[in-house]
Every structure is written in structure tokens, then in C-alpha cells.
């Protein structure tokens, strides 16, 4: 047993509880442990969606670009759709966002987006959100496709980052990869702490 102790640390631990009640600062990106940024974006069917529409509910937000090899990895293999199906069945809302600007890779107009949703067998709660201006993507700090965010019913971000721990573009690795999103959702739906709340999102850059 070490006899040395830092004089301040024991007290620190005691008062830390007090301080946890105090709210943290609000940031321009979606940061785990903090309130999710507001957004208001139209989907391909012409309906508007904002964060407040999902108050009191679980929400997953996913960034999408149909021409990105990493998106193809997870859609071509059916991995993303099976996640969407599994969790929307558990009353989790799932929004898939396209932030590609007009003229950039991945941009879709509403009619094309409806087609792509169909051809991709998209299992999100609504057809793609079309964030052509990039306002929502930038508010969330979405860097790559796919970039995943999980928001709890209190409107706080519980996970931000990659879909899994393998940044290979090869769909064959999905089987042996550890899926961060399902791990985070499974834990938090049971009221448990998220094992890993943040990771480096891999993939293609979002084409703002």
C-alpha cells in the first residue's frame, strides 16, 4: 500500500458528484455526453424533420453517400439494412442523411433519393434526409460516410463515430468486426453505460 496520497484528490472525488449536476458547455459538434445539435431538414418525401420531433425517443443518425466504397461495403453486404431493421423494430428512430452538395459526389434530388432508397432497401424510419446545404452535417461535425450518431430520449449524444472497428473497404471483414453502433445501442437501451462513446469515423469525406 502506498502511503503517499495527493492531498487534494480525496476531496476532489467527494465534490465531483456535486459538480456533475452542473451542465457542461454546448459545442458546435455532436459530442457524447452533451446535448445533440438542433437540425431541421426535409426528407426526400418532402416532410420536415427536426431534433425536437424525436424528443423522448431514441434516434440514430447515419451519413450516407451511395458512391462511397465504405457505404457500399455496409449496404452491399446488407449490414446497414439489418441494423436499421433490428433497431427500428425496437422503436429506435433511424435517419439517414445525405449532405452531399449539388454537383458533388453522392448528391441526389428528391426523386432520385426515393429510387436509391428503394434500390438500397433502405430500412431507415423515413426516406433520406436531404441536407444539401450541409447545415445539419456541419452542426454534427459529420466528417465521413458512414458517420454514426446515437441520441438518447433526453436529446443527448451517447455515441459518435465509426460504425465498427474495421476501416477496411472489404465487406468480408464485417463478420469479424466489432460493431460499435449495435454495442452502444444494446447497452444504452438496457440503461447501461455505452462501452465506447466515441471513435474515429472512417470512410469517405462528406462532400459538402
Amino acid at each position: 500500500m502506498r502511503v503517499i496520497f495527493n492531498f487534494s484528490s480525496s476531496l476532489l472525488i467527494k465534490v465531483v458528484v456535486l459538480c456533475l449536476i452542473l451542465p457542461g458547455a454546448v459545442w458546435a459538434a455532436a459530442v457524447p455526453g452533451q446535448k445533440a445539435p438542433e437540425f431541421s431538414v426535409m426528407d426526400a418525401a418532402g416532410n420536415s424533420h427536426s431534433l425536437s420531433d424525436y424528443a423522448g425517443q431514441w434516434l440514430v443518425i447515419e451519413w450516407f453517400n451511395k458512391d462511397c466504397p465504405y457505404v457500399r461495403k455496409h449496404y452491399g453486404s446488407g449490414n446497414m439494412q439489418s441494423l436499421q431493421k433490428k433497431y427500428t423494430e425496437q422503436k429506435v428512430n433511424w435517419l439517414t442523411v445525405i449532405s452531399s452538395a449539388q454537383g458533388k459526389q453522392g448528391y441526389l434530388d428528391p426523386a432520385q433519393a426515393i429510387d436509391v432508397a428503394e434500390s438500397h432497401n433502405l430500412g431507415a424510419s423515413v426516406p433520406f434526409l436531404l441536407d444539401t446545404s450541409g447545415v445539419m452535417g456541419r452542426a454534427y461535425g459529420a466528417k465521413t460516410t458512414p458517420h454514426m450518431f446515437i441520441i438518447n430520449p433526453q436529446g443527448e449524444v451517447v455515441y459518435a463515430g465509426a460504425i465498427d472497428d474495421n476501416d477496411s473497404a472489404n465487406p468480408a471483414v464485417i463478420k469479424t468486426s466489432h460493431n460499435y453502433v449495435s454495442a452502444a445501442l444494446d447497452a444504452s437501451l438496457k440503461g447501461l453505460a455505452v462501452p465506447k462513446a466515441t471513435s474515429r469515423a472512417y470512410g469517405c469525406s462528406v462532400k459538402y
Binding site: 502506498r2 496520497f5 487534494s8 457542461g24 461535425g141 465521413t144 473497404a169
Partner: protein, 675 residues
């Protein structure tokens, strides 16, 4: 030799003709061609560095091990036959701005290398590789390939000239050992919750190296903001939102052609953690630290004098409350002013710490005269209280000035709790840092306000009477003692001339008072002229002596020397560092009662501890930085490196012999468990 070359050439031609094998020696994908960089023959039993050469179309890029904001590092799955392989080695990258993101990689051709050691008695080596890569401009294209080669093992290695020079060029760009780096890491510490600051020692020629974080889960790849700070370089890396501080803090430091892999110790102390948890917590700690300061020998006399002065005056509750608020205002404004000065100095690139005001001989000189005046006044030599400054009286300016004074005299007595809070004040954003200073001030003021505001508490204080006059006269003596101590500090700062100038000014001050008392108005004017003249002459003369640290040893203690410390740690020797200053009373108490006693010295000797005394009496950037790396900005700090440990434990600011003894008894237990 020639025959062999011809044979090889012929066999190559045959291979080319075969087509199939050639396809295995090269691979191509969109915008990139990959081929082996290997010798024609390997040298028996000798390690060889080989690799893959990626030839990339102009404008396109491939990635480093940490790809940055997007993208992915290439993957190599290698299966050797007849050789053992080392891990993939990555030449240092460059930052590639791709629209709103930053990637780490190579714009143009690059070789990914690895070491190959032929097995004993093997005649042939075959390596097959599964490759995956990503090549990007703005859009990205992944590539996959299988490649292999077979080469004979001979008495000598033979390289195609062109390939050897490509190999050598990139091998030169591989990170070397951190210990050889011209830029050495000091620490990595959080700045607010958004940034992590890496501190490197700067080289003299002022070259600023590029620094690449290996951990992409914690550091953003974006170009860090770089500041020069007095002998060091500060790299502020943006932190990935919400990423917890892990322990992986490896970086690659690169000049234009070479690179080194360094590992910076995370600021182990609480300064880091606190600033990420909550500034309110720090505020609370600062408040408690400030409150405890009231009990310190530096502050207690000043405070008690003021308090008794108030009781003496038979004052009304409302008046007392007003006084206490003025006193608090004095404290708070002084703390804020000092905090602002500290932050401004830092912002200007100067490494300073708490207590910096006592590193200035002018401030010390002013304090000497102030305490001298107070002491004379308490002794009854003249009425100083009501008329001039009202230190012991009850007029408003007096209360305010007592507050100002309390802060100044408190600095030497940095108490428990203050260390952590002040340490954190360095690394967190300015406004939050000021909040910490405010916390300290409020803590210092709180007991006084409480006593003044509460009649119940006040009633418990002894009733006013003639005894107060005696007490006041008695309290003059601690003040005289303070003057002696401050003169000693001045002596440390400015050498012998410090003593001479200090004492001469005291003489002139006393003469001035006598003149003022004896010759009414004319005398006052004469006195003032004396003091002003003396000050004008002495202030420019007095300056900090040559700030070179004396090197060598004083009673078993080595003076602070980074190399000495690094050597001892490298050799696994235990080290005890005493960060101290002449103006720090707590330090002197610990030194006399614990550290320099024969018993403790014997303990240190028996356990072969390297003793280092880092004297911070004068401004010293190296010691300031060392303190900063420990998350502290004030003394005393006692850093203990147990044998074989490279990270210190910080001991409490109030030492006891038993505590030092415990360092070794616990070490013994650990050792016996190891056996």
C-alpha cells in the same frame, strides 16, 4: 558475378514471358501501381529492409498509419516462407487538406517498408501478400491485390540500383528513436476540453518541426496551432469530440527529411483531469484553498490585526459589514489583477507561475517597506493606522488595502488545495482561469465576512480593552520578522546589494517618518522627498542577479538539471525533487524540519536517492516548465520517482519525516514481492 547477373536477367525475361508470375510481382488499381522493393538475392543470415512501392497518379494520395479525418491506411497481410518479417514501417507523412478535412498520407509515390530476416540454412525466400489500399483525390477508390515474390539466398545481397535508392530514400524517412530527436517531448496536457497541448523543447536554430499524432482516436489530424514559448514549442491539437484521454500519446516529429518517434507523458496530475471535468469543481477547490490560507502564518497576523481593529472601534454591525466587503473587494481585485497579469504574461509567451510577483525584487522591496511601516506603527513609533493607510484602523481605504496586502503576503504560503487549482489555471481557458482566481479570493475573504456578519461569532471574540494595545505592540514583532525574511529573499534575488539597498531604504523611511513627526508640514515634505529620491536611485539599481543557476551540489542536493534527472531515471535510480523558493515559507519549514534533518538525509543516502533541489526563487523558465509538466504553477512541490519509475508521485505540500520513511518501507515491500 557477371554470369549471375545475366542469369538473373534471363530468368526475369522468362518470368516476364510467363506473365502470370509477373502479375504477382506487381499489382495495379485505379490511379495506383504497386510493386515490390526487394533485392535480386538476399544475404544469408542478414536482415534486409524491403517493402512495397506505391506509384500514385498526380493529385491522388494514399495514407499513413493514422489516416486522419477520413480515409484508411493500407493493409498488408504477409505470409513469409524462409524468413521472419517485422511490422510494416511507415515513412513520415504530410498533412493533406481535402476540402474541410485533413488527411495524413502521401501525395505521390511512397514505399511502405518492413524488415526481413532470412531463416538459417534457407536457400530461397517466398513472400506472399494480400493487399488492400485506398487511393483518394476527393473521391476515394479502394484497391485489392495479391502479390508474391521468390528470391534466392546467396552469399551477398544484390539490389537493382534504382530500387535500392528508392528503398534508401524512404528508409531515411522512417521515424528514428525518440532519444535521438533534436526536439524532446516535455508533456501533453489538456487545454479546456477541446485541445491537447504537446510541449516540445525547442532547438536553438528555431526550426519548427511538423508533428503527427499516431493516435487518431484522440487527436484530430488538423494542423495544430503552434506557439513559441520561451525555450519550448507548444502544439495545440484539437481533440476528437468526447474522446477520453487514453495513454497512447505517441507522435512522429519530422523536419524536412528526417523523423523521430516520441512519446510524451500525459500530464499525470489532476490539472488535466479537472479541466476536463468541471471548472466549478476547481472553483470549489480554489475556494477551500483560499479559506485555508487564512490560517497560514503569512496571513493570520494581518487578518487578526484588522479584525481586532474593527472590534476596538466599537463599530455597528452595518459598518462592520461594509468593512468586510471592502476588505473582500481588495482581495478579489488583487487576485483578479494578478490573475490577469499571469495570463497576459503567458499569452505573451512567458512561462511564469504563481508567486511570480515575489520573483521581482521591486515587489519584494515595496513589501519590505510596507511591513516596516506597519511594524513601526504597531510599536507605537508613529500613528500610521488612521492617518496614512489605516492598516490597523477602521477607515474604508484601510480595509481595502488590508485585502490587497493579504493577497500579497499570502503568496509565500501556498497551502494545500491551492496547488492543484493554480496548476489548472495555466492550462484552462482564460475566463475559467480567472474564475479560479476568484475562487481563491472568495475563499480568503469568506471567514472575515462571516465573522463580521455574524454577531454571534463576534461576541465570542474577546472584549475590547487595554490588552489590545499590548497585543498590537506584540504583533509588531512578527512583522519585524517578516521584514527580515523579505530582506533575505531580496538577498537571494539581488545578491549582497539587495541587503544594502533594502536596509538603506528602511533607514531613509524611518528618517522620513521622524522628520515628518518632528517638523510638521515641512518635515513631511522633506521626508517624502527623501523616500522618493531614495527609491528613484535604488529601484533601477536593484535587479535580479545573473539568472544562471549555480550548478553543482549543496549539502547532498544537486541543483536542477534536466540531463542529470533523465540519466538517473534511465538508470532506474530513485529521485527526489524539492521544488522550492526562498520566498516560500512552507518550503523553508519543510526543508528545516524534514528534508535536511540528519535522519531523513540518512534515509535518502541508504536508499541511494538522487536529491535535486529546484530553486525557483528567481524566474527560471526550465523549472517553471518542469512544474507545469507536473500540473503545478507554485511551490512547494515534492516529486518522488521510485526506483525504476519514470513518472513521479507528488507528495503532499506539508511533509513529515514518517512520510519520507514510508516511501522506502513501501518500496521494500514491493521489492520483496518481486523476489
Amino acid at each position: 558475378m557477371k554470369i549471375k547477373t545475366i542469369l538473373i536477367n534471363v530468368s526475369c525475361l522468362l518470368l516476364l514471358a510467363a506473365g502470370q508470375s509477373v502479375a504477382q510481382e506487381m499489382a495495379s488499381g485505379d490511379h495506383v501501381q504497386v510493386r515490390w522493393l526487394v533485392p535480386d538475392t538476399f544475404h544469408e543470415g542478414k536482415e534486409e529492409r524491403v517493402g512495397f512501392y506505391f506509384e500514385v497518379d498526380p493529385g491522388w494520395h494514399v495514407y499513413w498509419r493514422n489516416a486522419g479525418d477520413s480515409g484508411a491506411a493500407p493493409r498488408f497481410n504477409l505470409v513469409p516462407k524462409g524468413a521472419a518479417l517485422g511490422p510494416i514501417e511507415w515513412p513520415f507523412p504530410m498533412r493533406l487538406r481535402v476540402e474541410h478535412l485533413t488527411n495524413l498520407g502521401y501525395s505521390g509515390n511512397v514505399a511502405y517498408l518492413f524488415q526481413l530476416l532470412p531463416d538459417k540454412n534457407t536457400r530461397e525466400i517466398t513472400i506472399s501478400a494480400d493487399l488492400e489500399w485506398l487511393v483518394c483525390k476527393v473521391d476515394c477508390v479502394p484497391g485489392f491485390a495479391t502479390m508474391s515474390f521468390t528470391r534466392p539466398v546467396e552469399a551477398q545481397a544484390a539490389w537493382p540500383d534504382a530500387d535500392l535508392s528508392v528503398r534508401n530514400y524512404f528508409a531515411n524517412r522512417l521515424p528514428r528513436k525518440g532519444s535521438e530527436s533534436p526536439w524532446q517531448p516535455v508533456s501533453i496536457s489538456p487545454r479546456g476540453s477541446d485541445y491537447l497541448v504537446l510541449q516540445l523543447t525547442a532547438m536553438n536554430d528555431g526550426e519548427i518541426p511538423a508533428v503527427f499524432p499516431i493516435n487518431g482516436e484522440l487527436f484530430s489530424a488538423a494542423e495544430p496551432e503552434i506557439q513559441h514559448q520561451d525555450g519550448s514549442l507548444l502544439y495545440s491539437f484539437k481533440r476528437l469530440p468526447g474522446a477520453g484521454v487514453g495513454n497512447i500519446s505517441d507522435f512522429v516529429v519530422a523536419d524536412s527529411s528526417r523523423s523521430w518517434k516520441i512519446n510524451a507523458p500525459f500530464l499525470s496530475e489532476m490539472a488535466g483531469k479537472e479541466s476536463t471535468t468541471s471548472v466549478w469543481l476547481l472553483f470549489l477547490v480554489a475556494f477551500i484553498g483560499g479559506a485555508l490560507l487564512n490560517l497560514m502564518p503569512c496571513v493570520f497576523p494581518v487578518l487578526s490585526i484588522k479584525l481586532f481593529g474593527l472590534i476596538n472601534g466599537g463599530t455597528s454591525p452595518a459598518h462592520r459589514l461594509r468593512e468586510s466587503f471592502l476588505y473582500s473587494a481588495g482581495i478579489l481585485l488583487t487576485f483578479l489583477a494578478l490573475g490577469l497579469v499571469l495570463l497576459l504574461l503567458r499569452w505573451g509567451g512567458l512561462a511564469v507561475g504563481w508567486g511570480f510577483q515575489l520573483q521581482s525584487p521591486v515587489v519584494v522591496l515595496v513589501l519590505i517597506i510596507l511591513f516596516w511601516l506597519m511594524a513601526l506603527s504597531f510599536s507605537g513609533f508613529f500613528e500610521f493606522g488612521h492617518r496614512l493607510m489605516g492598516i490597523a484602523g477602521s477607515n474604508s481605504r484601510g480595509s481595502f488595502i488590508t485585502g490587497v496586502l493579504a493577497v500579497f503576503v499570502a503568496a509565500p504560503c501556498t497551502g494545500p488545495f491551492m496547488g492543484a487549482a493554480l496548476g489548472a489555471a495555466i492550462v484552462i481557458p482564460p475566463l475559467q482561469a480567472l474564475l479560479i482566481f476568484l475562487g481563491l479570493g472568495l475563499g480568503l475573504a469568506a471567514p472575515f465576512i462571516l465573522i463580521c456578519a455574524s454577531p454571534a461569532l463576534l461576541n465570542r471574540m474577546p472584549a475590547p480593552g487595554p490588552w489590545m494595545e499590548k497585543l498590537r505592540q506584540f504583533l509588531a514583532f512578527p512583522l519585524y520578522a517578516t521584514v527580515i525574511w523579505l530582506l533575505w529573499v531580496l538577498g537571494h534575488l539581488a545578491g549582497d546589494s539587495g541587503w544594502l539597498i533594502g536596509l538603506s531604504l528602511l533607514l531613509i523611511t524611518t528618517l522620513a517618518i521622524w522628520l515628518g513627526k518632528s517638523f510638521a508640514t515641512k518635515g513631511v515634505i522633506g521626508g517624502l522627498i527623501c523616500v522618493v529620491a531614495a527609491s528613484l536611485i535604488s529601484l533601477p539599481v536593484i535587479r535580479v542577479e545573473d539568472s544562471e543557476r549555480s550548478s553543482g551540489m549543496v549539502n547532498n542536493w544537486h541543483s536542477y538539471d534536466k540531463t542529470l534527472l533523465a540519466e538517473a531515471l534511465e538508470n532506474g535510480q530513485s529521485v527526489f525533487i524539492d521544488y522550492t523558493a526562498a520566498w516560500c515559507i512552507t518550503c523553508q519549514v519543510n526543508k528545516t524540519l524534514v528534508l535536511d534533518t540528519p535522519e531523513v538525509q540518512a534515509l535518502f543516502r541508504e536508499n541511494n536517492v538522487l536529491l535535486i533541489r529546484a530553486d525557483w526563487t528567481r524566474y527560471d523558465p526550465e523549472i517553471t516548465q518542469a512544474l507545469q509538466a507536473l500540473g503545478r504553477s507554485s511551490v512547494p512541490v515534492y516529486a518522488w520517482y521510485p526506483a525504476g519509475e519514470k513518472k513521479p508521485e507528488l507528495l503532499p505540500p506539508l511533509l513529515q519525516e514518517s512520510l519520507i520513511a514510508a516511501l522506502f518501507s513501501s518500496q521494500l515491500t514491493v521489492n520483496s514481492e518481486d523476489d
